[in-house]
C-alpha cells in the first residue's frame, strides 16, 4: 500500500510542478493547491498505513495506529487553506490592478513600470 501511495504522491507532485511552470497565474495557484495535497498524502504515508487499531485506550489491541501524522496534516491543511485563499484574492487584485495574469508580463523590478 505504501508503494502505491508513493506513486500517487509522485504523480501529484509531477502535475503540481507542471501547473506551477505554466504562465497563467490561476494555474499556478491550482498547482500550489495540488502540491499541498501531495504533501499531506506524503505525511499520512510516512506514519505507516493501517498497521493497528484506532489509538483508543479501550481497544486492547496488540498494535495501535500512530495518530500524530493525522494531527500534523490537520494543521497543515488549515494553513494551506488560508494561504491558498489569500493567494486567490491577491491574484484577483493583481489582475485588476495590473491587467494581466500572464507571468511573462509580471517581470521586472522597477517601481514605476
Amino acid at each position: 500500500m505504501e508503494i502505491v501511495m508513493a506513486f500517487v504522491v509522485g504523480i501529484i507532485f509531477m502535475a503540481a510542478t507542471y501547473l506551477m511552470l505554466s504562465k497563467s497565474l490561476l494555474r499556478i495557484i491550482i498547482g500550489t493547491g495540488l502540491l499541498s495535497h501531495g504533501t499531506h498524502l506524503l505525511v499520512l504515508t510516512m506514519g505507516g498505513l493501517k498497521n493497528g487499531a484506532a489509538p483508543l485506550l479501550g481497544e486492547h489491541a496488540a498494535q495501535y495506529n500512530d495518530p500524530l501524522p493525522q494531527a500534523l496534516i490537520l494543521t497543515a491543511i488549515v494553513i494551506a487553506f488560508g494561504v491558498t485563499s489569500f493567494f486567490l484574492v491577491l491574484a484577483y487584485r493583481a489582475y485588476q490592478e495590473l491587467g494581466t495574469d500572464n507571468m511573462d508580463r509580471l517581470r521586472g523590478t522597477k517601481i514605476n513600470e
Binding site: 506551477m20 499556478i28 500550489t32 505525511v43 491577491l90 487584485r93 490592478e97 509580471l106 523590478t109
Partner: protein
C-alpha cells in the same frame, strides 16, 4: 517550567487581536501598538535575566510531558534573539507613525506587525520541529500582508512571486518534517537530537539535513535560493523593509544554526562542508550585487545576502569560537540592518528617490543623518571598535584555525568590499553639491531619526561593550556545541 517564556509571544498576539477592533482609531492603535512592544521588550529583558541566572528555561504546553507535547525552550541564544527582535520591532513601530501613511494604518498595519512578531518570537522560542513550521507560517502570512499592503503595482507584482516561493518552501518543510518523523519517530527537537545520536546519522538523515538546508536556505536567502529576495524586498516601504531585512532572513539563519548543531553534527564532512561552500558563494554573489547597483535600497538589500553568508560560514566551521562569532555577528547584523534600512527610508523621504545618482550633498542640511549613516556603514563593514568587528574577528580567526583558508580569506576580503559599497552611498549621497528636493519640506525628518538613533546607539554600545556581552554570547555558543545541556534541560522532567 516557567510561563515567562510564553509572554513575548502572547503579548503581541493579544495586542494584534485588540488592534483589529481599533483600526478606525489611528492614534489609539499607534500607542497601543508601541506600548505593547515596549512591554514585550521589558518581558524579554526579564526572560534574558532568568536564563542568565537559572540556565535554560522550558515550558511544556498544557502540561504534556516533554517528548509528547509541544515544548517551548529558551536557551541563551533564543533569549538574546527574542530580545533583539522586540527592540527592533519597537523601533520600527515608532518609525511607522510618520512613515507608513494613514491609509495603511487604517488597513490593519499595526495588527499585522504584531502578528509578525508573534511568528518570529515563536520561531525563536519553540522546541518542537512542527511547531517551528507553524510559527514560520504565522510569520510568513503576516509578511505576505505587510508586503502587499498599500497595493501599488510593484507590490502586487512582487508579492505574487514572494508568496509562490514561500508556498513551495513551506511544502518542502512539511515534507522534510514527514521524512524526519518517519526516521526518528518524534517531533521534539531535543528528543530528535538524542535519537539521531543513537543511530549515528546514517545516509538518510544526511539527505534530510540537506533538505532542511534547502528549506531554511530559501527563507534565509543562501546562494542558489536567494533569487527572490532583491525583487521582493525592494517593493515595500522603509519600515516594512527594515523589519523584513533585519528579522525574516535571520529566522532562516537561526533555524539552520539550530538544526545543524542540534540534529546533524555527526557528519560534518558532508553537511557542514556543503554549508560552508554555499555560504562563501553567497558572500561573493551578495558582494557583486552590492557593488553593481546605484540604488541605495538595492545596495543595502544585497548586503543582507552578504551577512547571511558570513554568519553561515561561521556556523559551518562549527567550533565554539566560530559559533560565538556567528551569534555575535547575527545580533549585530539584525540591529545594524534595521538601522540602515530606516536611515535609507529617511533619505528616500527627503529626496523622493532611491537612485544614488540623483542624490548629493545631504550632509549640509542633515548632519545628524549623515553621521549616523557613516557610523552604521562603518559598523556594517566591521571597523573596530564598532559592533561588526568582534563577530567577524572571531569567525575569521576560527576559520583560519580550522584551516578553511579560502572561506576565511573571502570573508576578510568581503569586509573591504562591503565598506566600499556603503561608502559609495555616503560619498555620493552625502558629500558633493548641495541640491534641493521637491518633497524636502514635508519630510518629518526629526521624528524619523529617533528610531535609527536608538538602534545605532544600541549597536555602538554592543560593539564598545563587547567585553560585557561576550560571556552571554559564549554561553549561547556553548549550548549549541554541547547539545547535551539543551537535551537535559528539556527532557529532565
Amino acid at each position: 517550567m516557567n510561563n515567562l517564556l510564553l509572554l513575548p509571544i502572547l503579548i503581541p498576539l493579544f495586542t494584534a487581536v485588540i488592534l483589529i477592533f481599533l483600526n478606525r482609531f489611528t492614534v489609539a492603535s499607534r500607542w497601543v501598538s508601541v506600548l505593547s512592544l515596549l512591554s514585550t521588550v521589558f518581558v524579554s529583558v526579564l526572560l534574558f535575566q532568568k536564563v542568565r541566572t537559572d540556565g535554560i528555561q522550558t515550558l511544556n504546553l498544557g502540561n504534556w510531558e516533554a517528548p509528547f507535547g509541544i515544548t517551548l525552550v529558551s536557551d541563551m541564544l533564543s533569549a538574546l534573539l527574542v530580545l533583539t527582535t522586540s527592540v527592533i520591532a519597537f523601533a520600527c513601530c515608532l518609525y511607522s507613525f510618520r512613515a507608513i501613511g494613514e491609509e495603511r494604518e487604517k488597513f490593519y498595519y499595526y495588527s499585522i506587525l504584531q502578528f509578525l512578531i508573534v511568528g518570529i518570537n515563536g520561531a525563536f522560542t519553540t522546541g518542537d520541529i512542527f511547531n517551528l513550521f507553524v510559527f514560520f507560517e504565522v510569520m510568513l502570512m503576516s509578511s505576505y500582508v505587510l508586503l502587499v499592503l498599500g497595493g501599488t503595482k510593484a507590490q502586487l507584482r512582487e508579492s505574487v512571486k514572494y508568496i509562490l516561493v514561500n508556498i513551495i518552501s513551506s511544502s518542502l518543510f512539511v515534507i522534510t518534517v514527514a521524512y524526519l518523523y518517519s526516521v526518528v519517530g518524534t517531533l521534539n527537537m531535543a528528543h530528535i537530537s538524542t535519537r539521531i545520536a543513537e543511530v549515528g546519522q546514517p545516509g538518510i538523515l544526511t539527505v534530510i539535513a540537506v533538505l532542511f538546508l534547502i528549506v531554511f536556505g530559501l527563507k534565509g536567502a543562501i546562494f542558489p535560493l536567494y533569487f527572490w529576495l532583491p525583487g521582493s524586498y525592494y517593493a515595500p516601504p522603509a519600515p516594512v523593509l527594515a523589519l523584513f531585512g533585519a528579522l525574516l532572513t535571520k529566522v532562516g539563519v537561526y533555524s539552520i544554526m539550530r538544526t545543524y548543531t542540534l540534529f546533524f553534527p555527526h557528519d560534518p564532512g558532508y553537511t557542514h562542508e556543503l554549508l560552508g561552500v554555499l555560504a562563501v558563494i553567497t558572500i561573493i554573489v551578495g558582494i557583486i550585487g552590492a557593488l553593481a547597483y546605484w540604488d541605495i535600497k538595492k545596495i543595502i538589500i544585497y548586503n543582507i545576502i552578504v551577512a547571511v553568508g558570513v554568519i553561515l560560514f561561521g556556523v559551518s566551521v562549527n567550533t565554539t569560537e566560530s559559533l560565538t562569532g556567528a551569534i555575535f555577528y547575527l545580533i549585530h547584523d539584525m540591529l545594524i540592518k534595521a538601522a540602515l534600512f530606516l536611515l535609507v527610508g529617511v533619505v528616500i523621504a527627503i529626496t523622493g528617490t532611491s537612485n544614488l545618482k540623483k542624490i548629493s550633498g545631504l550632509i549640509k542640511n542633515y548632519p545628524l543623518l549623515g553621521w549616523m549613516f557613516l557610523l552604521s556603514a562603518l559598523a556594517l563593514a566591521g571597523i573596530p571598535p564598532l559592533s561588526g568587528f568582534v563577530g567577524k574577528l572571531l569567525i575569521i580567526k576560527s576559520g583560519f584555525e580550522a584551516e578553511a583558508y579560502w572561506g576565511a580569506g573571502i570573508v576578510l576580503m568581503s569586509s573591504l568590499l562591503v565598506l566600499f559599497s556603503v561608502m559609495k552611498i555616503f560619498i555620493n549621497g552625502f558629500w558633493g553639491i548641495h541640491r534641493t528636493y521637491e518633497k524636502e519640506e514635508k519630510a518629518p525628518v526629526s521624528w524619523l531619526l529617533i528610531s535609527p538613533a536608538i538602534l545605532v546607539i544600541i549597536s555602538v554600545l554592543y560593539g564598545v561593550g563587547a567585553e560585557l556581552v561576550y560571556p552571554y554570547i559564549l554561553e549561547a555558543a556553548e549550548t549549541l556545541t554541547n547539545p547535551s545541556t539543551y537535551i537535559n534541560a528539556v527532557m529532565k522532567e
